[in-house]
């Protein structure tokens, strides 16, 4: 039985790395039939595969199209498993990250990659989408008690919306409660320092490491 469990979990992890949606869905159905705990299947199988894909991305064997298709395989499995997740049992509360693309910008590929990898890293993501006003980031972070606010932009003209988020947090007296991280094409560590953000990362796998460091999980 345990070797059967291992075979399925390993197969699920591989299916994500191999970008194979059909196998991901098939093995997820098998896992359900075998009565394996759905959350464990997601974390030790599918998300494990996504973390391996993230490592391949970091070592420049995988690039963005590959990561996105890996994430499709992950989602194909999660779709099957979702109805079987047992909610009782007091699963540990996940650290929340509010993420979005700053107002004025509609480019969200980078944001989506960060979302995929940070989620696979065990965080709960609240995705505000693209073209998001500064107020919305702050209000959501407060309402959801999110530890991290992740801001993305690809456009030089919209990056100035980022300091506004930091200022709003200060105005509302909650600057210390929410870490602010920034990323996107035109940005740099120098920009992050200048606007008083807590960190910058230049790609999605670094964003995951940054989030872990900031919340003390590194």
């Amino acid at each position: 039985m345990s070797s059967e469990r291992e075979r399925i979990l390993r197969g699920l992890s591989d299916s994500v790395v191999d970008m194979d949606e059909d196998t991901a869905a098939e093995l997820s159905n098998e896992a359900v039939a075998q009565g394996i705990d759905a959350l464990e299947v997601i974390d030790e199988g599918l998300a494990d595969g996504m973390r391996r894909a993230g490592d391949l991305f970091e070592s420049e064997e995988y690039f963005i199209p590959e990561l996105l298709v890996c994430s499709d395989a992950l989602n194909a499995g999660v779709e099957v498993l979702k109805p079987h997740i047992k909610v009782e049992g007091g699963a540990e509360k996940k650290t929340k990250v509010v993420i979005g693309v700053i107002e004025g910008d509609t480019h969200d590929i980078g944001k989506n990659l960060v979302k995929i990898l940070v989620e696979a890293g065990g965080f709960e993501i609240i995705d505000l989408g693209r073209d998001v006003p500064a107020e919305k980031f702050v209000d959501t972070a407060i309402a959801e008690q999110a530890d991290v606010i992740a801001l993305s932009t690809l456009m030089t003209t919209t990056m100035l919306g980022m300091p506004k988020v930091v200022e709003l947090l200060k105005e509302k007296g909650v600057r210390e409660k929410h870490k602010v991280i920034v990323g996107g094409g035109p940005l740099s560590q120098a920009f992050s320092d200048k606007i008083g953000a807590d960190g910058y990362s230049k790609n999605a796998s670094e964003a995951l490491k940054l989030v872990k460091t900031l919340v003390g999980r590194a």
């Binding site: 690039f63 298709v69 499709d72 004025g104 030089t156 990056m159 200048k194």
Partner: protein, 339 residues
């Protein structure tokens, strides 16, 4: 040697002929130099200037005069191509450049592009062509650069970009078919600008970077279709600048295979080292746009001086500059090169 006109200087540089000094240019499109301060000074502004040939011409001439860049660079955005092919555009504001609001297609396989001829007749491409014509008539010594959004980025502005990137892997056949048609369209659009008087065509393809696509797809899609567009433009005997965004490291071996008369690169690229490795390349770049926006004129001038002394053939900003960059910084940049 006696001093050359800006047009002679740039064209000589492409042809690897002798020049009196390096040209300093900003080709338009992704590298738009119509900053807010120039709009304030000239009274011609975004977003109106994106769709009106008269305003666009006056603003383009004002950019040339006020910034010191030795060219005309139009359009001021990267949305003309995708709009002509059916995507909806949000024209932005005075400070914010236009962007794609809604991509026309959900997936590469669903894309059925309109007929090129009618797309070019009934779209903003004719406004750009009229502007090229007016500008080249008024400034005969200044090179007029028509900027194109490259084939990968244009295709990625027609299909939802996430799906587009996945389709490169999941549905390569449909992706090739789409980008192939986009390349055909871009060649015809380039001809429209060339007939109107464009001296140079610049192609910027920000989705087609080594960092996004990786070396294999960069070769299969970016190099292949950028070269197809460049070959088409070369048939009209017009030189082509190709700008590649981001770090070139993952795709360095492919850069020498681009059919470009000049390769323009981002700030993190060491153009002197690139030139040493591929001496046949004409290189262009790469003053940090971060420095242009947040630096002081003194720091900008110092950085420009370093570029000027290195083995870079054409001096230009490294990437798209912010519309809030101070004019004093841009002037410090161009003055340092022109001195």
């Amino acid at each position: 040697m006696s001093s050359l006109s800006p047009k002679e200087r740039l064209l000589n540089t492409f042809a690897r002929k002798a020049v009196d000094r390096k040209p300093v240019i900003c080709p338009g499109g992704m590298m738009n130099a119509a900053i807010v301060e120039v709009m304030d000074n000239s009274g011609k502004a975004f977003p109106e200037a994106h769709s009106d040939a008269g305003l666009m011409t006056e603003l383009a001439l004002a950019v040339n005069i006020q910034t010191g860049f030795e060219n005309i660079g139009i359009p001021f955005c990267m949305t003309v191509e995708a709009e002509a092919l059916g995507s909806a555009v949000d024209f932005g504001t005075r400070a914010c450049e236009p962007k794609i609001a809604v991509e026309r297609y959900a997936a590469a396989a669903e894309a059925v592009l309109p007929d090129t001829k009618s797309a070019l007749e009934s779209s903003r491409s004719s406004v750009i062509a009229t502007t090229v014509e007016a500008a080249s008539r008024q400034l005969t010594d200044v090179p007029v650069i028509g900027s194109l959004t490259g084939p990968i980025s244009t295709a990625g502005s027609l299909v939802d970009p996430m799906r587009f990137l996945k389709d490169l892997r999941k549905d390569a056949a449909a992706s090739h078919a789409l980008i192939d048609k986009v390349a055909d369209f871009l060649i015809e659009y380039a001809y429209q600008l060339i007939e109107a008087g464009a001296d140079v065509i610049s192609i910027a393809d920000p989705t087609a970077t080594g960092e996004i696509l990786g070396p294999k797809m960069f070769e299969d899609f970016a190099v292949r279709y950028i070269n197809r567009v460049a070959d088409g433009i070369h048939r009209a005997n017009i030189p082509v600048i190709v700008h590649i965004c981001g770090d070139l490291k993952p795709v360095k071996s492919h850069i020498a295979h681009l059919h470009a008369d000049a390769v323009s690169a981002d700030a993190m690229v060491d153009l002197v080292a690139l030139k040493a490795e591929f001496p046949e390349l004409v290189t262009m770049g790469n003053l940090s746009t971060y420095l242009l926006e947040f630096g002081t004129p003194e720091k900008v001038a110092a950085a420009a001086e370093i570029l000027k002394r290195g083995s870079i053939d054409i001096i230009a900003p490294a990437c798209g500059l912010s519309t809030s960059s101070p004019l004093a910084n841009i002037k410090a940049f161009t003055d340092a090169i022109r001195a």
